[in-house]
Assembly symmetry: D2
Homo-oligomer: 382 residues x 4
């Protein structure tokens, strides 16, 4: 297996998600970080570079320099990982694609739908591989859930309930909290706060598991913490294709909630439920039979989902969690790049990672919920 | 303790809730059923009467006969329990009050807001005791939750999420299913199906725990099962007093869900969660400290809620459940009657049972959610 | 249905289990308490009598007076409930049987095996109905568990693990705590403390679910709290018929544990687990298929256990708990009495309550674990 | 941070734990696998080498060749990871230490106590760093548990209950199952089956959390599956230092159980419980206050356990699991090597990984439980 060379933008000192990207790509041993622009601050930039073994000549002061510098090398990076605050996703992703790099991008993909569609067109045109880090769809039991729905086990989907409460923004936090600071700043975070940061994950999960698109939303977004500029809470009614309906609630002002993403999907025949904080189990409900608890790593999972099996590293009862889900997205993204580099058509299993279309969907979701809420809680097409 | 004499309307062969009423009132030994109109069918009517020891002279063929018959006796019943399908609640409750009986009524209290307000006025005028069987607020840990909120432990309430999924109506059921039959018939059930049957419980619980009224709702009700005449599912955004917001989702087409009423309440300081299917525990969340699990029957519960202690029959770890919650409502209702019969002002603890005001709130909620949904998902005042 | 007349010994002011007996028998409406000797203290004795409607002429100062008094009446009680501290179970049960009363007795049945066997012989001779209040086998899901094992669903049983931790005796409690006081006094509690009080429940549950007898035990009992005279904790290895093995651990010095009786049963094919504190669910494990969660009140339960169905009062999702389990034992006990009074052979479903044989088993278990522990942790036949 | 060079013995095609070792060491990016002897089969050996980037000149046909080959190089490996079946742990570890390599060894460390003590002496003499992969003590919440006990939060420890059920050996498996084959072969697995494989983990966890040694055991081991040569189930009573007592039960014939390691520790003041299959939570019990659920990744964890914080990679609610626990052991092991290479005394936090003393304890435990069981279930000193 050829090691892919990764260049990283973001993920500096104090960053949360960039460090996760590095830990996740390392897990399978198929990627090495060869270049980076981690921090604006030169000494912090150098500190991270040294810590992870990126040489000074490939440690760049700006993302523009990184893209240009890597583009000019014979041993250039295979892909660029974009782990910056939201407002930089679009320009970096665009420049990276234009320079011929595959891209793994944090979400939300852009600040506007127009930008998202521009990236979609660019990916189509360049035929480059584009990954969007919707971590939660990388969990094996989420893949199993999707494959059960796809196989018709639940029957036609009628209703979806998805909750995503967090508590970490329950008070106004100052500049000292790097995470909170940019995520609640419209210029860097985009039009939505809570809805952009985690509401999009919830919506993406609902679409992923059901295989149905959210067609319209009616949202009631709130800024509960005085002095904040973006929504820190939201409740959303939604309609999906084929008559399914649902409700999505997300919050970052829910004290004591950690990252409690839950989804319940109700079909005409059966239902299922999955909880992110205890992710190795998928509950399957039947009105006329005992509830079943499907557990990651068991042979019977393979009868329903080759994709779940492919994303399983440890035996049953040896739990996997967030980093492994993250790594699963990277693994499929990288195998797709390898296949294309080898002039081979990637398999469906390899292509099973979130990408530019999810990014467009996400931006449309953000736009629609913001429009809906601003215009007095009316239905808006997604 | 004087035994109160209860007359019962409804609760015949095959009935669900009437049997529960009988088991619940028996638990504390303070009530005896002395009269009844259980079934329209004479032989079934007699069968129940004999089974529970009601004499033939107090077993009536119609509810009108029961009210008149009991009113005429010197040893007349103290109160009448109304356990019929919804459409009969109002006329029976009204006639009972007018005949001077205290009333324990099933919910929803009436079919219209006007009827509900009429009963409210009648209760005010007659000074009789009126109980409405919102079972779930009878659970000790729900009382504890309310008392924590009231004491300010959670700070100002920001958000409420309440779910109430059931699965038993996931398919069209025929006449054979007595429960389903009247509950899905607009003439007997009223304007709402799922929202009237269980949505009102969810709304009542939200108001009870927070001490805040739902001021307006925006509802998306659905009939998922073809051939059904009333909503079998609904998603509702709501606003409460003092700026709290929330989302309520209820369903009777959620396969495998039993009676899974959940509530999460998020305040400025803390949060709490309670689950009806495992009701002896109250989870309390704090962003800066470990979650606490408060458990029924422990001495520390008494430091927060005298009402919870009063409603506790068994020691900690010897779980209590639905019938006990039901019996708690009856106990307080009966003690209030006894206090008034003894010309004593009932205490706050005795008065802690749902009543006619809850019934008015429930009808306003039903009306508002139906209006909202019919008029295109717009905000409606409750 | 004829109401049975119950005379009660014990259950006075401050008593725990006697009050539970009264609440439980009331639930089904088939029993009335007509006589009692509740407290030694005359005023307390009268207080309880008045509270529950027992007339002064049937309120007795001693249990001997009660037995004699009731025996002399034409309208004598049908059965006597023995809810006293342990040391009185035997003399009262004996006298009651000899006077021709059916008996419902608290556990442990006696203080010695010889006494237990004497009662066994007496029951056999008198053909009277004898119930022993092993509450936990009255839970519907415990009956389902037993019936699954009996049907061979688990295959041959290999291993049983049963835990029963409580915390209420974690410190030395003074006379002020009535419950603790007699339960830790060898003269009133018998040879064993924790093992007699709750270890017997755990052993009874293991035998009930598996249908196998514990043949020998090896016990390590401890008095952890200085100043206490009886074991407050114990760990027991045991062997059962047909080669099954197990481990039983019980404690009353486990801080924060309430009444956390758990059982796991492992067969050659499948396994099951049940938890008393959330008793409406039975987990069924299969090495090659998803775990199943069987839930009380669902139609599918009836395919496995008529006994569980018979013991179900409320629909699925409307949880039942401790009092209902207690009432189930009373219901079957009473229906057995009624059948015999009607000269009808009781059905297997009616006979499904713990009785004198369980009491003999319990005493043999206590004896064996005490012998084993005193003799240096050696195997002792039960 | 200097990358450490790792040579690996074992971990070939189809191996379970060797693959885990590789994934775990990769996570922190501080280790590279430079040499290996993965499989006896030359083509499989080469396959793994190529897959993970080990060059042919450092891919050895025997472990002896690897030790010799690496010892002869200037750029020799820093440490050797021993991931073979049990019988090879001792000779390889010994040869590695003698050749001057640090060692990370799978457990059980040896086949006999004498061998274990020989390694202990060798480690002492060589001053090399020796890690033993008791994964479960690498979990942050296990470290928190230990630190709570150490701080005296629970008071003096009275009782420990530890369960470790698995189901994967519930039937006789043939040669086709590589894992089962050597683990149930006395020549390769050692004197104990289930007790060596997982009983040692349970015992290690009990000693780790309480800080107390198991002083004596009384064991009842069983071979339930006909044709098997080693115990596949065992129940053990044990005594610890300072008067604590406990019970340990482990099984590999418990159908449907995955890897369900549970521990409950009861002190004079408080208690705690931890479950491996949902490892991000630590439950803390108090007889007089609500249960607390301590959750990984929260700031309050740091008030109790610097070691737990050091072992935390992701924010609260983004669960960590088995691989991260594994990686934690490697991280501390490697940082200890780095400190010593830098002539710096490792800190207590760096030294917080299981080592040769745990290995000696494990062998003594295995020996004692086997002796006890063989000699008729008598107490044996550990």
């Amino acid at each position: 297996m050829r090691k892919l060379k990764m260049a990283m933008i973001g993920g500096g000192v104090g960053a949360f998600i960039g460090k996760i990207h590095r830990e996740a790509v390392r897990m399978d041993g198929g990627v090495e970080v060869v270049a980076g622009m981690f921090n604006r601050d030169p000494s912090q930039n150098a500190e991270i570079a040294e810590r992870i073994g990126v040489t000074p000549d490939r440690t760049h002061p700006t993302w523009q320099a990184l893209v240009a510098g890597e583009a000019a090398r014979a041993d250039r990076a295979d892909f660029i990982a974009v782990c910056t605050p939201n407002h930089l996703h679009y320009p970096i992703a665009k420049a990276s694609l234009e320079a011929g790099f595959h891209v793994m991008c944090e979400k939300p993909m852009t600040l506007t739908v127009a930008e998202a569609e521009e990236l979609e067109a660019l990916v189509k045109k360049t035929k480059l591989t584009f990954g969007l880090m919707h971590t939660y769809t990388g969990y094996p039991m989420v893949k199993l859930a999707r494959d059960m729905v796809k196989a018709g086990d639940l029957g036609k989907i009628r209703k979806v309930v998805v909750q995503y409460p967090q508590g970490w923004l329950f008070k106004l936090t100052g500049k000292e909290n790097m995470q909170a600071s940019w995520r609640t700043d419209p210029k860097r975070s985009g039009r939505a706060g809570c809805m952009g940061d985690i509401g999009t994950h919830a919506a993406n999960l609902a679409e992923f598991v059901t295989g149905l698109r959210i067609t319209e939303v009616l949202a009631d977004l709130t800024i509960f913490v005085r002095g904040r500029k973006l929504d820190d809470d939201g409740n959303v009614l939604f309609h999906m294709e084929k008559g399914a309906k649902g409700v999505l609630t997300a919050s970052q002002i829910a004290p004591g909630e950690e990252n409690d993403l839950h989804i319940w999907v109700y079909g005409e025949k059966k239902a299922l439920a999955w909880y992110q904080e205890n992710p190795n189990y998928l509950r399957v409900f039947d009105q006329e039979a005992p509830e079943q608890v499907w557990k990651r790593g068991n042979a019977y999972v393979g009868t329903k989902s080759a994709s779940a099996v492919r994303c399983t590293r440890t035996p049953s009862g040896h739990p996997e969690a967030f980093l492994e889900a993250f790594a699963n997205n990277y693994r499929n993204f990288c195998d797709t790049i390898r296949a294309r580099q080898a002039k081979r058509k990637p398999t469906a299993l390899e292509l099973d990672f979130p990408g530019v279309l999810d990014g467009v969907r996400g931006m449309k979701f953000i736009n629609a919920v913001c429009d809906s809420s601003e215009q007095g809680n009316v239905w808006k097409k997604v």
